[in-house]
Symmetry: C4
Subunit: 199 residues, 4 copies
């Protein structure tokens, strides 16, 4: 199979997942106090929404770049891609969970922040697996050498280590973990892999 | 009509349906016990989510392969495709129902697991009907012989029998039925039909 | 503007709207009685879901056929198309309202069934307006004569009359109104307009 | 990167966001009074839904026109586009918030109406930034002169000023603010920028 419909379907899932994040924001109700107070209490929802939006956005950009380098996909690549998408669709859930515990505080916000990192880690691991498998099976574009492929794999493996770090940070401070995720997203936003061939 | 817009619309529905599954996961609330306990109690939701994600994923892969072999569609094929999509959009509902009864247990979880199989059965029957009709009406690609078409039909008919088996299993054990659905999905994940012409 | 991106956006909205219908189905909760009883009580939801799914499906098929005949769109055509899509996105709301009142019964189910017809009427009127405007402004495909264009307009005008009839029927019986909508959808499913140029 | 997949992803997010607006409409429940009374009380939801639908629709039309003039996008343009989409996905939330406070009245509806304008302002500012950056970095189509580019930037800057005006109006009257947003949307619906090259 060529990658066109895989991209179209993945784009669809990513677009829906990124938009469903908004369902995690609670619409303030007039009866529960002043609007300003309610929105102030909701800051963790807004912060988590913001970070998750850019996390999924960066995943989309990377998904793009990776599939740009792949000439065709086999069943295994399609399965790994499904795994990746499953992790992405779990992000609105983990985001809402983290927001719910950040508002409440207590010891469980550490666990919620750690869980927040799990689907993100699943995505970076899926990217690593997809790049490794595609290189191993000769599914890459003709012009791509062994070195570029290895660089791609290393890049996502490094991402997995960084996200694991964010999960570890969660057990110290939930807010620091969210900030770490934001930093990782910002890094991938400005960083350009050598295999990322924009003119 | 050629199949391009049919594929685009079907991809859209499949992408939204697979992502809506996440709305069936309950966001833990701090007031209702420790996060770990709540997530532990929610395992049926996660298991059902996982299985349904791959069931819809496999449906997408097969939808792809089937439409790849069809040159053009008439009104009847379009209607059968709508029927197929309707069954797919019912999966988030049947998944949430099964998860709700697996958590609770009792005799009704058998019925819930049987109901879970109904839209999946509807999908395999729709695929069988779509292949039969397309072969009968000469809507297939020029290169496809009578034998490949018959193989496709047999393949989905076999799938219908397997899913019917999973529905029967539900009356013995709801969890065994879910496991049967997972096994069927895994089988279709690795299996390659002869008509599935990847290079 | 050519019609490609208009079709892609409209396909997206139609695919999301048709899939959101499922959110109107209530997931049975173990505490509220046996599953069979609950699903039995929910029959109006399933009936309304079924009819609305095919109503939106038929709208998609017709949207396709209409845009197939239009070579390019101007601002006005784009605005009319937005109006059409707005009516479509209101259907999950009117469907859920009708289902809620069919379950309850009483005099208000007549009003709910009448309201159910309003967005559908909006769609047929938008189609009529889109065809009339496109013919008037010379936006149609080169091969299309004045007569085919007039037939298209008449066809959707007839649809508007039929849907108005279904709205009138609602004041006699809500269930009969839903059945009328189903009949109209079935009619458009088998009927082929002369301008509908399948090979 | 060329703009094709950016458009496809953006179309997806815009289509989902515009359809999610419907989730802000409350399905009337038979127990809470007559249907007509309930729908009457819900008028702010319908008004806000109507305005937001056309606001997102106009954003889609403009997004189209802007990307039509851009030949390729770099990381920064992609990031600004993500920012734009994030503001769009926030609109269903701000719409539901405004509707909730319009129903209730009191002083907080002013703040809710002001907040309603914030994501819309974010969109016009993102458009201004996207046009400025694309012109500055030479990402525009070959045929586009410096003057057309400057006109585009001025157009969105003017839009930002108009939306800021609507936010200011909110502190006088929430309903007047909503009407201002509707007027701005209507203006952009009929207005044609010089760079908007319909045949």
């Amino acid at each position: 199979m060529n990658t066109d419909r895989l991209e179209a379907f993945s784009d669809g899932v990513l677009a829906v997942a990124i938009t469903l994040l908004v369902l995690g924001l609670h619409v303030p109700a007039p009866a529960r106090g002043s609007l300003a107070t309610q929105l102030g209490r909701e800051w963790p929802s807004f912060a988590a929404y913001l970070v998750s939006f850019f996390v999924i956005g960066i995943i989309w950009v990377n998904h793009h770049a990776v599939l740009h380098n792949i000439a065709r996909v086999d069943r295994m690549a399609m399965f790994v891609n499904l795994l990746l998408l499953m992790c992405v669709t779990a992000i609105p859930f983990s985001t809402a969970t983290l927001a719910s515990y950040l508002r409440h505080g207590g010891r469980d916000d550490h666990l919620a922040a750690a869980i927040y990192g799990v689907p993100v880690l699943g995505v970076t691991l899926s990217f690593t697996a997809l790049c490794t498998w595609s290189a191993h099976r000769g599914l890459l574009q003709a012009g791509l050498g062994r070195r570029e492929a290895a660089t791609s794999v290393r890049r996502f493996a490094a991402g997995s280590v960084a996200v694991s770090g964010a999960i570890a940070v969660a057990f110290v401070s939930a807010i620091a973990a969210l900030a770490t995720h934001a930093t990782i997203a910002a890094y991938y936003c400005v960083e350009r892999s050598p295999a990322d061939r924009d003119p």
